[in-house]
């Protein structure tokens, strides 16, 4: 026997570990809290120095995020009938009236369509390719896998100009389809590699048992491999979504109107009404939500996925 044994950590050790985790969480969450708080500040509170920790929350940022406004003279304002909504009232405090909705909603929807669309495609194609690489004799398998991985080695922006030119020829500039294809192409290497790792871990004996039990190879894939790969598929989906959701450089370059996603749009809010930090913060806060929700929905799988390789055998 060695002097070490695997036992429960002592209470002191547990407390120390807990404290460290909480400290780390606070440090990493601080910028996030800052953004969320700024979204509820008034423009003057947002830029006050030293920063205000206690402030009177207001919805101005959110109203400005979702609307476009025009300045009117105090006389015109006085002639108007009283505001009939709470957000009208907020806007009029600044001698302005609401001119219409902003483009944030559309851009957000673009992000959803492109983010989830490309995630679905990456994971779908990745699963099939990973299964083939894992189970079949693919000619030049190792070279192909390396080639797939090598597409990750260069910074995506290195190919920005050629892609821009190709997309222009193909009419894919500023289209949802174009962005979905682009993000799928970038994510596919990650997806194939991650999923191949997960599928390699599923012993082939289960499929063989299913073949004996009267199923075809495809049915065995669906009934036996897919359920066991769920963990890997979920974690891969999260990674793909995070990339597609946050991608900025290509979005700036390739989209300007119809298919513009939220990341290039949010900074432009600043210009609309001077230094409108609360509106930017509000836009960023809302933008965080979908990935957060998606990750929370899949968190059980994700946790098991990350520890997958360590637990088996």
């Amino acid at each position: 026997m060695s002097g070490y044994s695997i036992t429960e950590p002592s209470r002191g050790q547990k407390r120390l570990a807990g404290a460290l985790v909480i400290l780390y969480a606070v440090i990493t969450l601080l910028p996030l809290l800052w953004i969320v708080a700024t979204g509820f500040k008034s423009p003057s509170d947002a830029i006050s120095y030293p920063p205000k920790l206690v402030f009177e929350p207001t919805m101005e940022g959110y109203v400005n995020l979702f609307t476009t406004r025009t300045r009117v003279t105090p006389e015109t304002l006085a002639e108007l009938p009283p505001p009939d909504t709470w957000y009208d009232a907020i806007v009029r405090k600044y001698d302005m009236v609401i001119a219409g909705p902003s483009r944030y909603g559309e851009r957000f929807l673009n992000s959803v369509i492109i983010g989830f669309g490309s995630t679905f495609l990456s994971v779908f194609l990745g699963t099939i390719a990973a299964y083939a690489f894992s189970r079949f004799k693919v000619p030049l398998k190792d070279d192909l896998l390396f080639f797939i991985l090598s597409t990750r080695m260069m910074p995506p922006i290195a190919v920005a100009i050629p892609i821009f030119l190709m997309y222009r020829e193909l009419g894919l500039n500023d289209t949802h389809l174009g962005m979905i294809f682009l993000y799928t192409a970038v994510n596919l290497s990650l997806s194939v590699w991650l999923l191949k790792g997960f599928i390699d871990e599923i012993p082939i004996e289960y499929e063989e048992a299913a073949l004996i039990d009267g199923y075809t190879r495809f049915q065995a894939f669906r009934k036996v491999v897919l359920p066991q790969a769920a963990t890997g598929i979920a974690s891969t989906a999260i990674f793909c979504l995070i990339f597609a959701w946050n991608e900025y450089a290509f979005a700036v370059l390739l989209t300007s109107g119809t298919a513009q996603t939220a990341p290039p749009f949010i900074p432009t809010i600043i210009g609309i009404g001077g230094q409108d930090w609360p509106a930017v913060a509000a836009g960023a806060t809302l933008f965080l939500a979908p990935v957060l929700v998606f990750t929370i929905l899949l968190r059980k799988h994700l946790l098991r996925g990350i520890t997958f390789g360590a637990v088996r055998k």
């Binding site: 289960y206 048992a209 004996i212 009267g214």
Partner: protein
């Protein structure tokens, strides 16, 4: 149910010859036991029949039909895997239902329930039906794995050491059940085991494999009483056959290099003296460890023997086997 035949089956894995020109015919309704040390090619032989693997040369026929181009599903075989291979994401019940629900069988619900209940009862796993398949002991997994084969009535059952991790009582029960199923349904069964009791009690035929070659194929008594080689002789018999220099007890036939003596081929009370080293009482058997002219040998004796260490027992061979230098039987 169907006859299964292998003709000239060869399978290589790199430099390993897993099966070397194996030919054998399993008659319809036979219970064939494949014996052989680890790595002999037993599992590979089952995989050839199941269609999970293809031979490099040779042909497999099931029911007189060549099945070379058929998938495992089309061959209609059921297999109990050596490593269980239960579907980990399903419950025990779902594992047992899985083959019945296949697109091939599409069994009606009532029939599924009836068969699952019947098999679960027989294998004594009825109380575990709603457990996760991963949440079982090794013996229970093995029973579920047997059950997944037994819910079907395929043309041939393939079983790879199906009783290896069960306790003695359950193993004895299941031996009887399997034999009964085979007899009742006239099932054709190819069965791999290390256990000589299983081989002797259940088999209609025994095949002895060693290093990919089929050394002998025949009725268990015939393989036991008339082995073709040292390897075949060593597969059956407890205690193992004693292998000694051919001339140890006097004249040997020409070319004989080794004499083989099973306990019943050692006559006690006549011949030259041997010294008792140890008396081993196993309950159902009492073994005598002897030294004869500097060679150790083991035989069995009367349970009430008065012999003890140091005593002298005269012994001589009775109708022994003789093998040549290569291990082939010469007399």
């Amino acid at each position: 149910m169907a006859e299964v035949s292998l003709s000239g089956i060869t399978r290589r894995f790199g430099d390993t010859l897993a099966l070397d020109d194996v030919s054998l015919t399993v008659p319809d309704g036979a219970f064939v036991v494949l014996l052989g040390p680890t790595g002999a090619g037993k599992t590979t032989a089952l995989r050839m029949v199941s269609g999970l693997d293809r031979p490099d040369a040779g042909e497999v026929h099931i029911g007189g039909r060549p099945v070379g181009g058929l998938t495992p599903a089309q061959r209609d075989v059921a297999m109990v895997f050596q490593q269980y291979s239960l579907y980990p994401h399903l419950t025990v019940r779902e594992n047992l239902e899985f083959p019945l629900k296949s697109p091939l069988l599409r069994t009606p619900r009532a029939e599924i329930d009836r068969k699952v209940a019947e098999v679960a009862g027989m294998l004594q796993i009825a109380h575990k039906l709603d457990n996760r398949a991963t949440n079982l002991s090794g013996g229970e997994m093995q029973r579920v794995s047997i059950g997944r084969a037994l819910v079907r009535r395929p043309s041939v059952y393939l079983m790879d050491e199906p009783l290896s991790s069960l306790d003695a009582k359950l193993r004895a029960d299941l031996r009887v059940e399997l034999k009964k199923i085979q007899a009742d349904f006239g099932a054709t069964l190819i069965y791999v085991t290390h256990d000589q009791v299983e081989a002797m009690t259940m088999a209609t035929h025994v095949g002895v494999l060693d290093q990919g070659r089929l050394l002998q194929f025949g009725a268990p008594r015939e393989v036991y009483e008339n082995p073709v080689s040292i390897q075949a002789a060593a597969r059956l018999g407890q205690p193992r056959i004693n292998l000694l220099p051919a001339d140890l007890f006097g004249d040997a036939p020409p070319r004989a290099a080794t004499i083989g003596l099973r306990p019943e081929q050692i006559e006690q009370g006549a011949g030259a003296d041997s010294t008792v080293v140890r008396v081993e009482r196993l309950g159902d058997q009492t073994r005598l460890h002897l030294i004869y002219r500097d060679h150790a040998l083991v035989t069995v004796t009367d349970p009430h023997t008065p012999l003890g260490p140091g005593d002298l027992v005269p012994i001589r061979p009775r109708q022994p086997f003789y093998f040549d230098a290569a291990g082939a039987r010469v007399a």
